[in-house]
Subunit: 492 residues, 2 copies
């Protein structure tokens, strides 16, 4: 298989699809719209999970597990939520296959094994969870409930793309129950902030924190907080959402608690999630025409050592030379791979690790052995330097930090250059068309205008930024007065 | 809710069901046969996962993720496997619900959204994975593939019990591909040994390693290795299986590789798994009439500190007294909870932590404060002792080790007393009926005899122990010659 990638300039979308497959992250499966996450891709996801899980636990959340299936009668209980997800859900109707008597060796659905009630494969778990919380909550003493689950969900998307939009995906979904409205809002905001912190500090992906408009809100939410990232092609990507669900699910499932004063009140709720979609954001934010660029904090292999040798004697000498450094780096918690495979040449390995985004590569050959040096290359800038053994470990520690900072800064600068304030619809269309990125514009606050703009430009309101300042203005489309700019963009 | 458990002597099965619910491990959900794993139960499962995952990775395995759904045509490819699982599988036939026009607010399956090909919710993933491996394997250089996945699976069991048998359960399934038969067999044996090591060293559950008979083998396997544990009611429980799959799946999915010599050969396979069923084994092996008994290595809370106080001043004094010890214990990696809730009395808390199996409890009251002592109680034997501050941390470290060893020894002794050699069918039935446990007997090696014995006694052959010695004998049922004893038991 040729490892040569289509370039971003040639065809950004093709570049992405090829990169995901060639870097061994994921591939399409034999099931329509479902992906196989390959070991290298899954190793990155595991690192994301570990950090997020730690952050959730540090803020008092516990993990649990709820059923994959939602009986239809529970699914339809919260009307807006049901409406939002009914159009694209996988439905289990039977519980048995039997031999096809007309076609030996084949199986057919057994018509006698029809379920009394159909089961929806969870597209999200509010319904099944609130049906459970009903039994967990009696009094204010049972609140708050701060639960998260790591799970697979299914949404029958028609057009799918690896990581970005798949029929089945992996995610975490937090579901919390609170005694007061304010506590639930605080929780929803806290989780948005945790997502933003994770995106920026670990993924090195700068994000805008904001609120969704009513039209873009989660089905069943009173308010949706989100973090929005910007990809290198100027399109936005929603990287995480946190919903204030009001009392909608508590009312749909009749979940009340007794207050300290002995009154019965409906419970307040939040839910929040990030998914394997984050992998798409990670890939598209940093990678280049040579392949993946991974932030050191999430790279499964942080340092790779490639020996350049002729014959076993040289390889043994190199191994002996690098072993103490490998030990020292591993003792400091770095993940180091020494690739001494004799089935591939050094040049092939260099390409391979560039493609896979390994942050730091060390090469060592005959001349290095003689000189007591190592050739150290960083993936983000391709800069190389020769370094002696005494400085090697410190250099690598520094480089890994620098790379993490540098790719964040690069993405941050790109985004800063791609938030454009516009004051007319002509400008709006011009920026969208010729520059891309976020367009910061006044909007009159109506769904009607929002839809019209989307119809004409394909841009949606990504969010109402939380830090948007009060500013007198007029809607770029309707000319009506507005007091705040919102961010529009074409989006994944 | 009364916390008083039914005793094991009164009704073992009821004791188990009550314990699982009252100790907050799991409960039945709104979906037939599916359970909710509650935070406390899930925390134990997470500890199991972490240890197993570490053991898998140390032996060279990587995690990946494959689709939840198996298209019917792939499902039926390996005939024996399909036959084994077709009878109890959840089948997705539609991908949309729509509003029921005759019944406002209700949803019905949209007949226009029928799938062209039905999808089976994976009961196990050999089919979907081997359909993928087909594209991953070309040459001997691509082998071995050593992949594991953590996932949910669905088997439409008619009679379900929390953890032991549920329609949906969580598990890990390893799927490996090898160039040679011997390498695959070695892998299957290695994984059985890892499972045994985990069961004994972490769960403190002694197991017998053995081979399944042909009748009890995994559908599609040439050989099934297993670990069998013994519960306190004398029934056996299969705690993990590792399958040598021969070339069955490679042939069904046409997966060949080019050998070093340039020949085309079918690939050899294994698969192996343990599931949330292990939770059932853990609970039933150690627990008593007061509740759970957890091995310290898997206990989410290893040490609980309960203050006995009147008024905030005493509580503050106690908090000040215990804080340095909590810090020291946590720094050593122990999980310590200081339960200073004022909503419950100390006696209630004592019962609660007994019910939840916390290995060590420290109580401290006014007199302890005056004397500089702590009251330390262990969960497994209920023994209490008073200890001064200087000795506290060391005592707890010792106790946690002792408890881990003691509950293993207790279970080991129970099992040793419940492996009974019998030499006639009368004896066989007598032991099964009046004593329970494993019955070690000669068997003629035929499925016919095995089935007859099951029909008459409900006992199955749990395994042919790997360490069974050659011994001349005659089958307890047929009188035919036999050279080895096998283990029979009634089983979960």
């Amino acid at each position: 298989m040729s490892k040569k990638l289509t370039t971003r300039a040639e065809d950004y979308s093709k570049w992405y699809n090829e990169l995901v497959v060639k870097a061994d992250l994921a591939e399409n499966s034999g099931v329509r719209g479902c992906m196989v996450i390959k070991p290298y891709g899954y190793a990155i996801w595991e690192k994301m999970q570990a950090e997020l899980d730690r952050m959730f636990k540090e803020t008092g959340h516990e993990n649990a597990y709820f059923p994959l299936f939602v009986p239809k009668s529970l699914f339809e209980a919260e009307e807006k939520n049901a409406e939002g997800f009914a159009k694209e859900c996988a439905v289990v109707t039977h519980y048995r296959l039997k031999s096809d008597e007309e076609n030996k060796g084949k199986l057919i659905v057994d018509p006698e094994a029809k379920l009394e009630e159909e089961l929806v494969v969870r597209p999200t778990s509010e319904a099944i969870i609130w049906n459970t919380y009903k039994n967990w909550i009696e009094s204010y003493r049972d609140l708050p409930i701060l639960v998260n689950q790591w799970a697979n969900v299914v949404r029958w998307e028609m057009r799918t793309r690896l990581f970005l939009r798949t029929a089945e995906f992996l995610w975490q979904e937090g579901h919390t129950a609170h005694a007061t409205k304010q506590e639930a809002i605080t929780e929803a905001e806290q989780m948005m902030n945790i997502y933003a912190e994770f995106a920026e500090n670990f993924m090195a992906v700068p994000v805008v924190k904001g609120l969704k408009t009513e039209a873009e809100r989660f089905a069943g939410a009173d308010e949706t907080y989100c973090i929005e990232a910007l990809m290198q092609d100027g399109k936005a990507l929603q990287a995480g959402t946190s919903h204030f669900l009001g009392q909608n699910f508590a009312k749909a499932f009749d979940v009340k608690y007794t207050t300290k004063e002995g009154k019965q009140e409906h419970v307040w709720a939040t839910s929040w999630g990030v998914s394997t979609r984050l992998m798409g954001a990670l890939i598209m934010t940093h990678s280049d025409d040579s392949g993946l660029v991974l932030p050191p904090k999430l790279a499964p292999i942080q340092v790779v050592i490639v020996p350049i040798y002729k014959g076993m004697e040289q390889l043994d000498a190199i191994r002996e030379r690098v072993t103490p450094y490998i030990k020292e780096l591993r003792a400091k918690g770095f993940s180091v791979k020494f690739d001494d495979r004799d089935t591939h040449k050094p040049g092939w390995k260099f390409n391979e690790y560039e493609l896979k985004g390994v942050p730091v590569r060390i090469a060592i050959g005959k001349r290095d052995l003689e000189n007591g040096t190592f050739e150290v290359a960083r993936r983000d800038t391709f800069e190389k330097q020769s370094v002696g053994g005494d400085d090697l470990v410190q250099l690598i520690e520094n480089l890994l930090e620098e790379i993490q900072e540098n790719i964040y800064k690069k993405a941050f600068d790109y985004r800063a250059n791609h938030i454009t304030e516009v004051n007319s619809f002509e400008e709006f269309k011009d920026v969208l068309e010729n520059k891309g990125g976020f367009v910061s514009a006044h909007w009159d606050g109506t769904t009607e205008t929002e839809e019209k703009i989307q119809e004409l430009t394909k841009a949606t309101i990504r969010c109402i930024p939380l830090d948007a300042k009060e500013e007198e203005g007029v809607c770029v489309f309707s000319g009506k007065t507005s007091s705040k700019r919102v961010l529009f963009a074409k989006a994944y």
